[in-house]
Amino acid sequence: MTPRQIIGKIGLWLSVLVIVSPAILFFLWMLSLSLKFEVDNAAYPPVFFPDRIAWKNYADVLASNRFLTYFINSLIVTGSATVLALMVGVPAGYGIARMAAHKSAIVILIARITPGLSYLIPLFLLFQWLGLLGTLVPQIIIHLVVTVPIVIWIMIGYFETTPMELEEAALIDGAGRWQVFRHVALPIARPGIAVAFILAVIFSWNNFVFGIVLAGRETRTLPVAVYNMISFDQLSWGPLAAAALIVTFPVLLLTVLAQRQIVAGLTAGAVKGG
């Protein structure tokens, strides 16, 4: 290596360090806050590496039985909204791609532009009339506003790139449309479905604005529960940071593990709901 190449290498690594550090330092600080006792969290200058580690912050959060309820609520809402979206969205993406009905995608683009709150006002009234408030059903339904467009959008893009030859061959052999979809198109589209699934899960899990209006005391999802913790005990940072980290940990793990799929999905559609 010439000196010039070495300088170039060092420069590259320095720039990598500079651009990655805001993310790394932030999450390390979050971890540090969540593992410190109040004395250390209230210290100035701040303590980065505590002498004693406050595992109890996590124990406290997990032990409160409400937190478990909210965790299960989040699982139910995100799980249902994602599965339902895949059930209607994957066939729809297939149909739209095969009919080349690209104009119908405009609806999804407009849905992407529309502020989330403007869905909430009419649907809130609708749920009230139907007497559904107080259950998880309204949140599952309104999370479809987030998940369905993501799934349809990604699946249109994916089915457009999958080859038609196999499907045509199956049709000539006398298979029905449904059989072709079920046994030929769907297996090929598995990577696309994975992308749609991951993004739908993440954006539904993270959603806050729908829950804050529709959730009651028993039906909160995790983001809403964490927000409510802020207003209650502003000063105990340790347990708060621990709760925040628990809420977002599944998403962070998924991001690092499935970064390839996430990058593919986001650059294809860059669809985010709400």
């Binding site: 806050l33 209230a42 149909g95 095969r98 009919m99 869905y119 506003v145 369905v148 983001p223 860059a270």
Partner: protein, 312 residues
């Protein structure tokens, strides 16, 4: 001539006939379930919002049709007009800063280095993480006495700031969070653009002895312009609608210093339960986003024309 016209439909139908056998029923059944869902949860709210905006509609009292008076009320509502101003400032900053930082990061991530995939995963963590959870940690970091940000400033000799607790600094502080969160999305889009650039212009530039900056300014930047435009458009749409971060950190405060249209819309609809007026705000808000998108498209078109005119 008339024979030609007459023969055309017949020819077309005989040509289409064998193809029809190959094209059994249609793909409509695949789309119908999604269509029902989209009608119920997306189209119905749009239509109903417009209808509600024409009514005096408060929770718990009878509704009356009032025509456009909700819209007229907007024009003389100082809190709404102020919110429009906040939204515009917040949006411009939250588009420009991520665009600049995201492009620079993309140039770095376009290089080859060990652990690139993993580090890219780490780099995009801020935009995938739960916004409320992040907002909570930023709130602690902004704390004037105990926050780590003021400590970091003190290390380089800058006096302590009030961050989100002062009307003058609250919007820039929130933009800092927004930029931290969404620079990765710009980076990903631009990185996709960089991957699509052919290598020839770079080779000839190297032969001509162009500097790094010249290469970036005259080769890379024009070629990634379409991607920057898309990134800017997406960023604009998200920044205008930004809710979670602002709501969780300041709720529009202190006072109403960081109250954007979306935050004001929330209070009108779900704190005061003035749903008719809230719907009018939602409609105007949507139109504003469409208007901003149209302005950006127009600016882009103008830029393309001047480029062609100047022979670039």
């Amino acid at each position: 001539m008339s024979a030609l016209i007459q023969s055309t439909p017949a020819a077309a139908s005989t040509e289409a006939a064998p193809e029809k056998e190959l094209r059994p029923p249609s793909y409509w059944p695949f789309v119908v379930p999604a269509l029902v869902v989209v009608l119920a949860i997306i189209i119905f709210p749009w239509v109903f919002t417009i209808w509600m905006s024409l009514n005096e509609w408060k929770v718990g009292s009878p509704t009356t049709f009032v025509g456009f008076s909700n819209y007229l009320r907007l024009t003389s509502d100082p809190r709404f007009l102020e919110a429009v101003g906040h939204t515009l400032v917040y949006t411009v900053l939250s588009v420009v800063l991520p665009l600049i930082l995201g492009t620079l990061s993309a140039v770095v991530f376009h290089q080859n280095f060990a652990g690139r995939g993993f580090l890219r995963g780490v780099f995009i963590m801020p935009m995938m993480a739960t916004p409320v959870a992040i907002a909570l940690v930023w709130t602690m970091m902004f704390h004037p006495q105990l926050g780590v940000l003021n400590y970091l400033l003190s290390l380089v000799g800058i006096p302590a700031q009030l961050w989100v607790f002062h009307p003058a600094t609250v919007i820039p502080s929130l933009v800092l969070v927004e930029t931290w969160q969404w620079t990765p999305l710009v980076m990903l889009i631009v990185l996709g653009g960089l991957a699509a650039i052919p290598t020839e212009p770079y080779e000839s530039a190297q032969i001509d002895g162009a500097s790094f900056w010249q290469v970036f300014r005259f080769i890379t930047l024009p070629l990634i312009m379409p991607f920057l435009f898309i990134a800017g458009m997406i960023r604009m749409i998200d920044a205008v609608k930004s809710f979670d971060i602002i709501f969780a950190i300041t709720q529009g405060g202190p006072g109403s210093a960081s109250e954007t249209i979306n935050i004001y819309l929330y209070s009108v609809a779900f704190t005061y339960y003035d749903l008719g007026y809230g719907s009018a705000i939602a409609v105007v808000f949507f139109l504003l986003i469409v208007l901003l998108a149209a302005v950006m498209l127009y600016a882009r078109q103008r830029m393309l024309w001047t480029e062609i005119a100047s022979g670039a």
